[in-house]
């Protein structure tokens, strides 16, 4: 862990996922959507739980609750819509959160593990992990694929 970088204070959105709070860079977040209908259809992509429709766009939903907290997502979730990057392209991506969110400006401390945490910010007396959405869903997908492969081998 390195020293806080005060000069690089940025805005973050604090969200509640399961029983924990996490932060995402506000620059990547486009909206907090209400509990709209989750559309589901057959597929075998890890982590993807379905699609919501926002502003005429189809937004895939990544259920990261189990990965981050070890517990299933509660029902009636809001959705935090952010951008996921694929090389030079990007598309909206949603993660289920509960409705409580907060916009804060803070500096962060860099961390190297787990990979999907890009830093830690201090808010009040709380240390909050800053999530890197791209790395989080990639790591989560790989973990699920490995678990599925182990299940097949067993």
């Amino acid at each position: 862990m390195s020293a806080p970088n005060i000069a690089n204070a940025k805005s973050y959105v604090l969200v509640q996922i399961g029983d924990r709070r996490f932060a995402l860079s506000a620059a990547e977040v486009s909206e907090l959507a209400p509990p709209v209908r989750l559309h589901q259809f057959p597929h075998n992509s890890p982590l993807v739980s379905g699609i919501i429709v926002r502003r005429g766009r189809l937004v895939p939903v990544y259920d990261v609750c189990r990965l981050l907290t070890g517990k299933d997502s509660p029902s009636h979730q809001f959705y935090l819509v952010a951008r996921r990057h694929f090389g030079s392209a990007s598309e909206p991506a949603a993660i289920p959160v509960n409705g409580d969110s907060e916009l804060v400006t803070a500096d962060t401390v860099e961390v190297t593990s787990p990979k999907y945490v890009s830093g830690i910010l201090i808010h009040g007396n709380e240390s909050i992990e800053v999530l890197d959405l791209d790395t989080l869903v990639t790591a989560g997908s790989q973990e699920q694929i490995q678990l599925a492969n182990r299940g097949l081998d067993a």
């Binding site: 506000a26 977040v29 209400p34 259809f41 057959p42 005429g56 189809l58 694929f86 598309e91």
Partner: protein
């Protein structure tokens, strides 16, 4: 950031409408381009379907002869990984030698645009679907007729049926 009210899908710029058939498989709704379906038949009329012996592609267990062509009968429940239910109808496809077992036809509809499958989807669904339609507040996957069997699977199935035919001929041959 803001908390947005639930909004409706904006009308997209006009595109040529496409006729689709909405059908269900194990209670899941799908769409397929109407012009890719040659014929819809009841499974009761498939008395002449031949069982084929092969284990490699479990979603195919029968063939149907139609217009001097052999169609492979694909169970859509098995193809999409859904709970297996007894199918009532078979969709004979136009472009390829595939007949698809489905539960029922819901209706015909027109879609004015096809949304691309988001890049979040990285599995075999990229072969299964041409894209997604948004129809009456419902996201419906539009199936790709060419995604039911790969060219490799056709080669294996053709091999299995040729082998079965050869064995049948040998059994039928009367020794002199």
């Amino acid at each position: 950031m803001r908390i947005a009210a639930q909004d409706t899908v904006k009308a997209r710029k006009a595109r040529r409408p496409e006729a689709v058939i909405l059908f269900t498989v194990s209670n899941q709704l799908f769409a397929i381009a109407a012009d890719s379906v040659q014929e819809i038949r009841s499974t009761d009329s498939l008395g002449a379907a031949l069982e084929i012996e092969q284990q490699e592609i479990p979603k195919v267990r029968h063939t149907i002869e139609r217009g001097h062509r052999t169609y492979y009968v694909v169970n859509a429940c098995a193809h999409f990984g859904l709970r297996i239910v007894r199918p009532a109808l078979v969709l004979m496809l136009r472009q390829i030698r595939v007949a698809v077992l489905v539960d029922r036809i819901e209706r015909m509809a027109e879609i004015s645009g096809l949304g691309a499958l988001p890049r979040a989807f990285i599995g075999t669904e990229r072969q299964w679907y041409r894209g997604l339609a948004y129809l009456e507040d419902q996201v419906i996957p539009v199936v790709n007729p060419l995604g039911f069997l790969t060219s490799q699977e056709f080669i294996r199935l053709d091999g299995a049926t040729a082998e079965a035919s050869r064995r049948d001929l040998e059994r039928a041959a009367v020794p002199l």
